[in-house]
């Protein structure tokens, strides 16, 4: 099937506009972190994942785990726009009593595979799912979206050592490398670099892509397994706050909430009304 990249880019812009609105309405932080991973989510959910929004519990479905759970709004908007639940439900995001909290809860909405929010759990859960698929003779793939800051957690490297030992070629770790963590540059807080090489040396088939280039992302995500018998790591270089000029690469937007004027300005920039 031919992929319409113009359409994909439009979906990504709509989702970004929605995220800015959601952050404003809910007064919920982590907007910059959500904006950085939108293109990854769109590429995965619209072109790579073998999923049917009408059958969210199909045992043979591909699994996508948002290990960087603080980007919950991006996952929720993606699932809603992809048809897992009504877009109107997004208005309840982070409101009292809503099923959509600031981090994904277990089974909180169709399409949410795991509760996350404490960093360093999702990749390991993904390994468990990938092993389960092997044991049960199912051919689904597992994708875990990890943040660069998350790679401070030792458990990420426990997972990084285990998956290649079992030759889990049905597992993909996507690292949303936006260069920031909560209070500093991710490469300064911890010695993350050389980053792709770390994954490679741990036994992964590791790639680097522009995390906002849908063509590169799609090409990468559509080749799983890639025939090398290894788990795949995709280091996606992204910009925190991507899509809104006054948020891009400004780490204040890890916590800052946009004002109504900023929401309008952002939506104008994104070409939305």
């Amino acid at each position: 099937m031919e992929i319409n990249f113009t359409e994909l880019a439009a979906i990504a812009r709509s989702i970004r506009g929605k995220l800015v609105e959601m952050s404003h309405q809910a007064r919920a932080p982590h907007l910059g972190s959500s904006l950085s991973c939108v293109d990854i989510l769109v590429a995965a959910y619209w072109t790579a994942l073998r999923i049917d929004p009408q059958k969210p519990y199909d045992p043979d479905r591909d699994r996508f785990i948002l290990s960087k759970g603080h980007a919950a709004s991006a996952l929720f908007a993606t699932l809603a726009y992809r048809g897992f639940f009504p877009v109107e439900l997004l208005y309840s995001y982070a409101q009292p009593g809503s099923c959509l909290a600031e981090h994904p809860g277990p089974g909180c909405a169709p399409g949410v595979e795991a509760a996350t929010g404490s960093l360093g759990h999702g990749l390991s859960m993904g390994i468990g799912m990938a092993l389960a698929g092997r044991i049960q003779g199912r051919s689904y793939r597992v994708f875990a979206l990890v943040s660069d800051g998350e790679c401070n957690e030792g458990s990420v490297w426990e997972a990084a050592m285990f998956a290649p030992a079992r030759c889990l070629d049905n597992l993909v770790a996507i690292i949303d490398f936006n260069g920031w963590q909560a209070t500093g540059r991710s490469c300064e807080v911890m010695a993350l670099k050389p980053f792709r090489e770390k994954w490679e040396s741990f036994g992964w088939h590791a790639h680097e892509v522009d995390g906002h280039d849908l063509k590169q992302l799609v090409a990468m995500l559509q080749q799983v397994p890639d025939g090398r018998g290894k788990p795949i790591a995709i280091v996606a270089h992204t910009i925190k706050g991507k899509g809104v000029s006054f948020m891009e690469d400004d780490n204040n937007w890890h916590y800052r909430i946009p004002t109504a004027e900023e929401v309008n300005a952002a939506r104008r920039e994104l070409g939305l009304r």
């Binding site: 045992p59 809860g105 277990p106 089974g107 595979e113 795991a114 509760a115 929010g117 404490s118 360093g120 759990h121 390991s124 859960m125 993904g126 390994i127 468990g128 799912m129 990938a130 092993l131 389960a132 698929g133 044991i135 049960q136 030792g154 458990s155 426990e158 997972a159 050592m161 285990f162 030992a165 079992r166």
Partner: protein, 319 residues
């Protein structure tokens, strides 16, 4: 206990193909039989308990029934957050099996002691905590934990502990088992202290005090019916555990008692003190150090009985 666990595991795995064993680089040879038959359902996860615990949750999310197995402190406190979030928050049927609990591996030092694991895990919603008293209970606990279908922690001793039950007892999660009848003192024992508790009741008998013994293999949920009966029938209820008096079985009984006082019986909690054991020595030495011996238990119970008899007790509340 660990041999009984390994044997029972092979038995249940042959009947339930959802069972998967995750080992934290331990149990050399112990699981040979299991591995022979179910090699595709065995994973040595290395010395990486956080990853092992999260992987178990991921497997359970896909319909499997994983069991994680390693030395107690590493399978409980090392990966506590993974247990809290990945297993308990998701309410998944993962069974965490800690071997060498309490002071079983005393000689290895406090790194290998686990006298606080019940305290940590008891606070987690959805968690069931089972501390089997002998090999019969170990075997029955595993089957019961699989059937109950939520997160469970099974706290094992080591090997060659005395067998207390003469045959398979009637085992239900959350229900204590009467092991020795008695009238004045009631010893509620949890986990591997059961043989010592039975000896303590014999010691009490020699000193003219009739002491019953129950195996309270389930610390959570508590057997509240049994507690009502014991605190209304006996003069002293003694809790015995190879765990700190802070946060363990005795603590949970004390919490229950605070909510349901006054009752006829006094409570006497026996466990390890609020301190690390800095000296070398095996399990027997460590138990002696903390007063977890038949004589130590009997003497403490008698002192409590004396206090109870001299001070009396408030009238039970009207129902």
């Amino acid at each position: 206990m660990r041999n009984a666990f390994a044997a029972e595991l092979s038995a249940v795995a042959s009947e339930d193909e959802r069972i998967v064993l995750l080992s934290g680089d331990i149990g050399n040879r112990l699981f040979d039989r299991y591995k022979e038959k179910f090699n595709d359902r065995f994973f040595n996860c290395g010395v990486a308990e956080a990853n092992m615990t999260s992987m178990a949750a991921g497997m359970a999310l896909c319909g499997l029934r994983p069991i994680t197995y390693t030395i107690t402190p590493f399978n409980t406190t090392r990966c506590l957050e993974q247990i809290k979030i990945d297993i308990c928050y998701h309410n998944l049927p993962v069974i965490i099996v800690g071997v060498g609990s309490g002071l079983s591996y005393a000689g290895l030092g406090p790194t290998h002691h686990s006298c606080e694991d019940i305290a940590f895990l008891r606070a987690l919603p959805n968690m069931t905590i089972i501390c089997p008293g002998d090999v019969w209970e170990v075997r029955l606990a595993l089957g019961a934990a699989i059937v109950q279908g939520g997160p469970a922690y099974i706290r094992l001793g080591k090997k060659n502990e005395p067998v207390v039950h003469e045959g398979a007892p009637d085992f239900t999660i959350g229900k204590g088992i009467l092991v020795r009848p008695g009238t004045e003192v009631c010893v509620l024992s949890t986990g591997n202290m059961l043989p010592v508790s039975v000896q303590a009741s014999e010691e009490l008998g020699k000193r003219g005090c009739s002491a019953a013994v129950f195996s309270c293999h389930t610390v959570k949920p508590l057997d509240e019916q049994l507690l009502f009966e014991c605190f209304d029938k006996f003069r002293v209820v003694v809790t015995v555990e190879e765990h700190s008096v802070i946060g363990g079985f005795g603590s949970s009984v004390a919490e229950w008692l605070a909510d349901h006082a006054p009752r006829k019986a006094y409570l006497c909690r026996i466990g390890t003190a609020d301190q690390f054991l800095h000296e070398a020595g095996g399990q027997d030495y460590a138990r002696h150090y903390f007063g977890l011996t038949p004589t130590g238990i009997a003497e403490k119970a008698l002192r409590r009985l004396e206090a109870r008899n001299s001070r009396g007790y408030p009238a039970p509340p009207s129902r």
